[in-house]
Symmetry: C3
Subunit: 167 residues, 3 copies
């Protein structure tokens, strides 16, 4: 019996579990935000995590600031009218206790009895292991619009994580 | 060689496989429904599974009722005009032979040569192991609109599954 | 200690890793295409891979042809105005060194300061193992519109991969 084979397997399974845990973390934000569970949604971040959501105005520094934003009139008005903070599947790159995930965020709103795409963003999640789970160190959103913000976010992150091409 | 280490690993791998099987189950519905493969789509449910799709009218009780709905004029008209029953990534919580998954459902339709968002829903999937695979016991959809139905579905499910915050 | 148990586990973990690698491959295309990283995006395909993207005109044969298309005025105009080539979660069926994945592709564009759904497609990815990773042999897109192209793509693929019903 090869003890090393088992040890190697433990590492491989651990990495698959890490990826699943990060997926779970990212997929927790939208339902919690749309349900108005503000401290649950903010709990996706570390206490001193950052939500740099638009490039306009200052980022939210600390999960208490995220919670406060979600309790504010802006977000509360959205959820009263109906809103979906949808997160797409993640492209994740693990590096030990750190990981970076990229995905698309679609925010859909109601208007005259119809849903429409309000914001379509490129998102970068910088996450870190926190005990047996993971938390967000920084989430950065940039619109995929004519400003080029989303384009630059995806371009810089792909270059940094993968270099010249896909793994 | 640690026999327990291998046994523990078997359990961990099994849970990852369960999550993959549930993902596959959830992701089977939309393509089958949009292709008009009505019995395939209904086969995602147990024979006596329930599709509580809107809160309006009675839920579909049994997969034969789901199949019949999909064969009906309403659904057949949608697929003739072009429709996408899109399911977003799931947030899944396993508990042995049961699991609960949450996601967003977007139904997109055609109108005057354009696609639009017809329905944007919060979805809860209650699934159970069935031999070597999984099937749906109950699927519950609620619109994320001004009625608050989707908001309440997500809020109740997150509280029940995770308590105060994300895992 | 059961040597066979460990060997079986190695196979199961390998299949989970394959699924993760295919997910990563599929999720790489959109961000790279939207960032204007044309050779990165084209690198998702084998050198002689095919992108049969619409059923109109000839498919792109070879990843150099995909790269050229992405460098062309059409795609470059899209990304200057803002565009999202969003890929939904995949339904994947592994068979050794080959796999087939199905998902939805949503292409969202800007118009008068708003996002709208330009194309909603059924997608089939035929992928193959390439050393320690995977690459696309053929990607086929068909619109889920009144032509029935998307409906037929999903119907044929589900029948071929799964037969009468979901796994």
């Amino acid at each position: 019996m090869n003890e090393n084979a088992v040890e190697e397997l433990v590492g491989r399974v651990g990495r698959l579990e890490d990826e699943a845990a990060i997926r779970r973390l990212v997929m927790s934000y939208g339902p919690a935000a749309d349900a108005g569970l503000t401290s649950f949604a903010a709990g996706v971040w570390f206490e001193d995590g950052v939500y740099d959501w638009d490039g306009q105005g200052a980022p939210y520094e600390g999960n208490a600031a995220v919670d406060e934003m979600l309790q504010g009139d802006g977000h509360q008005g959205l959820i009263a009218a109906g809103v979906a903070h949808f997160s797409g599947p993640i492209l994740v790159e693990l590096e030990g206790d750190h990981a970076t995930a990229l995905n698309y965020s679609l925010v859909m709103r109601r208007e005259e009895g119809r849903f429409y795409l309000w914001r379509v963003s490129a998102v970068r999640w910088d996450v870190e292991r926190s005990g047996s789970t993971w938390r967000v160190r920084r989430r950065t959103n940039r619109l995929l619009d004519e400003t080029g913000g989303g384009r630059e976010l995806f371009g810089a992150a792909l270059g940094e994580l993968f270099g010249e091409g896909p793994r």
